[in-house]
Symmetry: C2
Subunit: 314 residues, 2 copies
């Protein structure tokens, strides 16, 4: 019997990734493009480019709140261009295969379950730590049908206003956006920091990597920013542990690169806050698929939804 393939698409906030993926979770071909205002055109081109004649379906992971029944994106604060688009219909009309849609962090969790760091866990939560903070929950080996918008959990009821409408959201304190905003604000106020030299002349171009590199060189402001963001993440981790008692929390996204300051601080803070027995039962580990978790998970959506006897079906 010939190998089965599906196309997995990860339509996150900043990049469009499209891959041809086997049922075993292996990537046969892949493309990456920057997200643009126009979504449909580049998306259809990419699918065409990686596709082969054996694909049994197409899976999409999209940043935002998904209406699974109607295949639309209700709301996508980081990717306004897809809001209200009927992505499923548009793709189906051209490729004539089943198309499935899910939230991008949810499919990343699926990807880690199928062939990544979550392979040996039945119950885990994946967090994507980047510009924003997203989540996906795997329970008894399957994707939990839940929004998992952990970035919009308030950890500070009277805190900063979040664009989502809530106040004190985890994302306001622990995301890359939050770190950069704080660095810029502090430098504007005249704080001393080697960050000024790291960022190619403009403090408005500072990246999380700049902050991490400056911190490694002993920059006090940068270390403080990473540690405070880590502590906030730790509050969120403790809440997740107390509510969901997962076997593992898998951390993905660009900020995982700052593991030995930001994440270490988060783990320390969570250990102080979570119920002891629950903390002792959870492993906090990095993603193993990295940027590819999304396309692998999106493709596995197809295999799960179409296969009757898949162990990973919903």
């Amino acid at each position: 019997m010939s190998k089965k393939y599906a196309i997995g698409i990860d339509l996150g906030g900043t990049n469009l990734r499209v891959a041809l993926v086997s049922e075993e979770g292996e990537i046969a071909r892949k493309i990456k493009k920057s997200s643009s205002e126009e979504v449909f055109g580049p998306l259809l081109e990419c699918i065409e480019e990686v596709s082969n004649s054996e694909i049994i379906g197409i899976g999409l992971g999209v940043a935002g709140i998904i209406d699974r029944n109607n295949g639309r994106v209700f709301s996508s604060p980081n990717l306004r261009a897809v809001e209200g688009l009927d992505l499923i219909r548009g793709i189906q009309q051209k490729f004539h295969v089943p198309v499935f849609i899910e939230n991008d962090a949810n499919v990343a969790a699926l990807g880690e379950k199928v062939s990544g760091a979550g392979k040996n866990f039945e119950n885990f939560v994946l967090l994507t730590l980047g510009t924003g903070i997203g989540g996906g929950i795997i329970h008894k080996g399957r994707l939990l049908d839940a929004s998992a918008e952990v970035g919009h959990m308030s950890i500070n009821a009277e805190g900063e206003k979040c664009p989502c409408g809530n106040t004190g959201c985890l994302e306001n304190y622990a995301s890359a956006r939050a770190m950069i905003a704080r660095a810029v604000a502090m430098l504007e106020k005249g704080s001393e920091s080697i960050l000024k030299e790291c960022c190619k002349g403009s403090i408005y171009k500072i990246t999380p990597e700049d902050i991490y590199n400056a911190a490694l060189e002993g920059d006090i402001l940068s270390r403080e920013i990473l540690r405070d963001a880590g502590r906030a993440l730790g509050v969120g981790l403790a809440n997740i542990i107390n509510i969901l008692s997962p076997e593992a929390i898998i951390l993905a996204g660009g900020l995982v690169g700052a593991w030995n300051i930001y994440v270490q601080e988060a783990i320390r803070e969570a250990s102080r806050r979570a119920l002891k027995y629950l903390f002792d039962s959870v492993k906090i580990i990095p993603s193993s698929l990295g940027d590819e978790a999304g396309v692998v998970g999106a493709a596995s959506l197809v295999f799960m939804k179409t296969a009757k006897n898949s162990p990973h079906r919903f």
Copy 2:
């Protein structure tokens, strides 16, 4: 075929409830006693008293963190007497039927699913609002295997220290214990309030009912206490909605009696904070089984765990 029965036991913080329950969730006989230092003796007596010859098992809901594999209670801050006890073995040795154990709020959620306010929902979260705040999660019609310690979700990272070790726990702001502590503190400071007359001469005997009744009579302090607690509960509700996107949140426990001030305020606050589409998709409703949800749910544990084809099995 004769009717099947199980015994359901609810070993909460303040009361011990034991009932003989049919597979349909009907209570045939029930007893209630105050919890005491000695747990086993009164428990075995109560079981004996309600039991009949057709019971197929005994289910226990216990306040605290449960070690399901070993039938022990790891930690029970409101019922220290059961910590470390091998409840399953003790009961099994006397009654020779299968015995199952779960967290008390988890079995209350099961009870509401079997024959209460959750009957028509596949995905809901039950909150018990009393001395403390507990939770149980039903997903796709089944009890989610999760601690659901929603009372120990921090909503104020730099807030008050909680006995659990965390700071700013929901329970510190929205529980009966929190309301009473605030009322006493304000009266000690000399606040004007008719609460002083409501409480039979000692402000240290104030109950949530006293606060509610005073609020209904227009007492400003009491209204403020209920509203602030409600707002804190609303922060917790919004977090639950953003993370779990349930179809319903079912509110149980003594504080539900203060619905038209405390809960209304919570719903208003949650509506301001939760992601709009998710808030619009959730119903926030009271428990319909009230104090009986625990025993019904504990008995249904037995039917689910022993029946191979039960639609509610795990």
